[in-house]
């Protein structure tokens, strides 16, 4: 009964978070901040997909969330490794 309204609030919070992340991405003072912001955006995207899955009433959307979790982490580590070592696979 009140869960749909809470879900709307959660989706609004995540959307606002993603907008704040975009703002940070555009005005990031250092390169590392950009990587951190991309990582945060991946995590926020997982939250968005999961919340949309609850609203749709099916567990199918969780597969997308799993893929986002995997690729987001690999992307962050690859960017950091490139900045640290100058190459990703040595």
């Amino acid at each position: 009964m009140i869960l749909p309204h809470a879900l709307t609030f959660f989706l609004a919070c995540i959307a606002l978070s993603l907008l704040l992340n975009l703002w940070r991405l555009a005005t990031a003072p250092t390169l590392t901040d950009r990587i951190l912001t991309l990582d945060t955006m991946a995590v926020n995207a997982i939250a968005l997909v999961v919340a949309y899955g609850i609203r749709a009433g099916t567990g199918l959307y969780l597969e997308i969330a799993v893929l986002f979790a995997l690729t987001g982490f690999v992307g962050t580590v690859a960017y950091c490794k490139y900045l640290l070592r100058g190459s990703i696979i040595e």
């Binding site: 704040l20 945060t40 939250a47 969780l62 962050t76």
Partner: protein
Amino acid sequence: MTFLLDLALSLVLIGGGGFALVGSYGLLRLPRPMQRLHAPTKATTIGVGAALVVSALDLLGQGQISWQEALITLFLLLTAPISALFLAKTLILRGEADPDLPATGTATDWATLDSPPADR
């Protein structure tokens, strides 16, 4: 009972949304790079955790058991510290961290590309 579950799930969801918002706002607002590392790695993970808990319990209330939530939670909790460590190493190596980092208290300095002390 259903109403109580509904209320509890709604409270968890509202709290999680607040945490996610605080995490992203902290990333924008905190003044120093090492401080900015803290906000998203902790608060945003709590926000996603709330959504995953609500999703698992909501599907359980409908009589479905799904293991993906546990998988995503485990994976996020395992990988968030590792990405934070990599980002901190990148900050130190590129000289973007605070110049007055506290002393390590050991003979070796903050590690970036040095081999561990036992290897020397």
